[in-house]
């Protein structure tokens, strides 16, 4: 039983926070999110090279520092505090973790490019309605000579417009619902037969609907063992959930700080807004929700390396608790900022929308409540 962070983890948090405070002012973030590319220039490279951040959480035998889930949690929370646009989740928590677990020459080569900051990744496992049951995905890959032919659609693949490589889950054998038969492929988005329909998302980031029409993949595109990807994808889904929940905690922390500052400054009926008891109690409730959410994130993070059942229960509990907190904290922050909170100019609304996106990702609160319930029944 240990709730302390190592010295390295404390330094990681401190240096990242300092870096972002210096280099990630909100107005530049906003401008970048509206630029054609959608990312602030130079930040990712600096995270990779100045801070060496991208290797921190990865396994040592893959060029990482072996930090693991707790390091991802710290990094995501700090990125959440500045509502960062960068695809750390997509590239590192999901992409690099998948690659390092699958192993193989192809994966090793891509990982080197990821750690150095040259390669951004995006992944698409789920399809509409299959977030928490990937055995039902409809995208298929069939053997064709030495390689594969991939067909299907993935919607709203976040980070895809930035990515030079995609990690795509497809069924290679069996029928919808079978636990085996799901495989993972590394796919160059420039291949013939791939169409990316890019869009902005409400959090100012980028996503794409991707169509694969009989795309020819080389044999090396297969990552890991054929047909055996499902447990890995399930696990990485829970890693993504824990990381997103950590990001949400960072974002909520900022919203509460901003709300405390605003209500302490703003006058209404001749008094500070923060002197009204209902305003005070609402902020107290925001803090309570954030504390519980923080605990839920700790729990889900620590359980990531445990048995699948325990890991899933913890991830679902974290997602449900964090979604409820995000809803209350986000809505309260807007409400307590009054009309100002409704403007695009303030950062409040942008954090609010990022929390909406996090809440909808990898299964919403209702979906995780249902998953938790069915897992509890299995267990009981």
């Amino acid at each position: 039983m240990d709730f302390t962070f190592t010295e390295e983890q404390q330094m990681l948090r401190a240096s990242l926070r300092r870096f972002l405070a210096d280099r990630y002012p909100f107005d530049q973030r906003l401008a970048a999110s509206r630029s054609a590319n959608g990312l602030p220039s130079g930040v990712w490279a600096a995270l990779a090279n100045e801070l060496g951040l991208l290797s921190v959480g990865l396994p040592e035998d893959h060029g990482g520092l072996g930090g693991g889930a707790v390091d991802h949690m710290i990094i995501m929370e700090e990125l959440g505090r500045v509502v960062a646009l960068e695809p750390y989740l997509e590239t590192i928590v999901i992409g690099a973790e998948l690659l390092s677990r699958c192993g193989g020459t192809t994966a090793q080569g891509v990982l080197a490019g990821v750690v150095s900051g040259e390669i951004l990744l995006a992944s698409a496992f789920a399809e509409a309605g299959t977030e928490l049951d990937l055995s039902h995905i409809a995208t298929r890959a069939e053997r064709k000579g030495e390689g594969w032919r991939l067909s299907g659609r993935k919607t709203l693949v976040t980070g895809a417009p930035w990515a030079s490589q995609l990690l795509i889950a497809a069924r290679t054998s069996g029928a919808s619902g079978d636990a085996s038969g799901i495989s993972l492929f590394l796919v160059d988005p420039a291949l013939p037969g791939i169409t990316l329909d890019c869009c902005a998302t409400i959090d100012g980031r980028r996503a794409a609907d991707i169509a694969f029409d009989d795309v020819h993949l080389a044999a090396e595109a297969l990552l890991g063992e054929e047909g055996k990807a499902l447990p890995l994808l399930d696990e990485v889904t829970d890693r993504a959930i824990a990381a997103l929940c950590a990001e949400a905690v960072g974002a909520m922390g900022h919203l509460l700080e901003a709300t405390v500052a605003y209500t302490s400054d703003r006058k209404q009926f001749g008094r500070d807004l923060a002197s009204f008891q209902v305003v005070r109690h609402r902020m107290a409730d925001m803090l309570i929700e954030i504390e519980l959410a923080t605990s839920a994130v700790y729990m889900s993070t620590v359980r990531l390396d445990g048995p699948a059942q325990v890991r899933k229960l913890a991830a679902s509990a974290a997602k449900a608790v964090v979604c409820a907190a995000a809803r209350f904290v986000g809505q309260s922050a807007v409400q307590l900022h009054g009309a100002m909170g409704m403007t695009d100019e303030l950062d409040i609304g942008h954090y609010f929308k990022r929390l909406m996106v996090i809440s909808a990702a990898f299964g919403d609160a209702d979906a995780h409540c249902a998953r938790y319930l069915s897992l509890s029944v299995d267990k009981g």
Partner: protein
């Protein structure tokens, strides 16, 4: 006690339905259904208003002498319900429900003759100048300065959160003409044109990405004294009258239309979401009756204030709950950036949800409404 319409009322409902079937084109209904803001934008809103005006239904609640219809409360109710149900474009109340009743009650004959017909026809489109950057729910603290100079007031300062000012040609405005007394004193109610020199309308983009709101800056703007409503320094009386008049607003017809649309799409969805929808539905059916009671029960001034605040709180919070159901139902698709849904239909659920966060803030924040309810209850 009876919740049914009489045969006459049912006949009137048929008349309204027939009118809508004929005049509410698919384009109007599309805009109404996909209106993610509070009201539809111009030109579609004005086009629809002119259709109503042609039928004589643009200002049904006015006294008959100025162009009202003389309908019974049940007829007004039916009209609102049918409009909402048919997805008619929601229209701003600024002209017809806010400034017009004030002009009718306090205006001179000249003011009435000048302004009312233009409102009724849809020629004029009014903006409301109440809130200021440092004066939101605490309206009495407003500071926009209006100094008398000959036959004009000279205005300096600014108004904020001015919905659709960029579509409007006129403004009614609370200004400070005297700062010596209590905050409620020294306020005047002024009408003027928005194209006067020195007025600048600056857009405020909301978190949904929409441009509904504006800040309006006044730099030595000369407003003719002829625009004064009531007495100088007596604007608070006028504003309070307007507030009372506003109370006839009903939340439930629009919410019913929205919720029925959600229900129609909810088959097979997550069981927890279905339960949330059912709960909202049951609560809405109670709110519908509450709003009928406001329309039909006799009440004194105190009870009417109380019910108005209760309706604001429960109506807006249910509205927010229902738009949140829309987002849940859209699932991950709700994360797409909405793209002018009134014109494209894209992202209406999320844009509506974002815009509706303001429902508990505007028109007297819900915290202020609860203060009012408690004050009345405790006195």
């Amino acid at each position: 006690m009876n919740l049914d319409f009489s045969p006459q009322e049912l006949a009137f409902r048929n008349e309204v339905r027939a009118f809508l079937a004929e005049q509410l084109t698919p384009e109007f209904a599309f805009a109404g259904r996909n209106c993610a803001g509070i009201y539809c934008e111009l030109p579609i809103a004005r086009d629809w208003f002119r259709v109503l005006a042609a039928k004589g239904w643009s200002v049904p609640h006015w006294p008959i002498e100025y162009g009202g219809t003389g309908w019974t409360p049940a007829q007004h109710l039916i009209f609102k319900q049918e409009m909402a149900r048919a997805d008619a474009p929601p229209l701003s109340p600024n002209s017809t429900h806010m400034v017009a009743p004030v002009i009718i009650a306090f205006g001179t004959d000249e003011q009435k003759a000048h302004y009312l017909p233009r409102i009724r026809s849809g020629e004029d489109w009014w903006a409301q100048g109440y809130s200021e950057p440092n004066s939101g729910s605490d309206l009495a603290s407003l500071t926009l300065k209006a100094e008398r100079d000959g036959d004009c007031y000279v205005l300096n300062g600014s108004k904020i959160w001015t919905t659709h000012a960029h579509f409007s040609n006129r403004m009614f405005c609370l200004v400070r003409t005297d700062r010596s007394g209590k905050p409620q004193q020294g306020i005047s109610f002024l009408l003027f044109d928005l194209d006067l020199p020195g007025i600048e309308v600056s857009p405020i983009i909301s978190i949904s990405g929409d441009h509904e709101l504006n800040q309006v800056f006044f730099n030595n703007v000369r407003v003719p004294v002829a625009g004064l409503i009531g007495q100088e320094n007596d604007g608070w009386t006028v504003a309070k009258y307007l507030l009372r008049h506003e109370r006839s607003s009903m939340w439930s017809p629009l919410l019913r239309a929205r919720l029925e649309r959600i229900k129609a799409q909810s088959a097979g969805c997550d069981p927890a979401l279905q339960l949330r929808i059912a709960r909202a539905d049951m609560r809405l059916s109670a709110l519908e009756v509450s709003e009928l009671r406001m329309l039909f029960e006799e009440m004194d001034e105190t009870r009417s204030s109380l019910m108005s605040s209760i309706s604001k709180v429960s109506g807006t919070e249910l509205r927010q709950e229902i738009t949140e159901l829309g987002v849940s139902l859209a699932g991950r698709d709700a994360i797409r950036m909405p793209d002018r849904p009134e014109q494209t239909g894209r992202g209406v659920a999320v844009a509506t949800y974002l815009n509706d966060r303001a429902a508990s803030i505007y028109a007297g924040a819900n915290e202020v409404q609860r203060d009012i309810i408690a004050k009345i209850m405790l006195r």
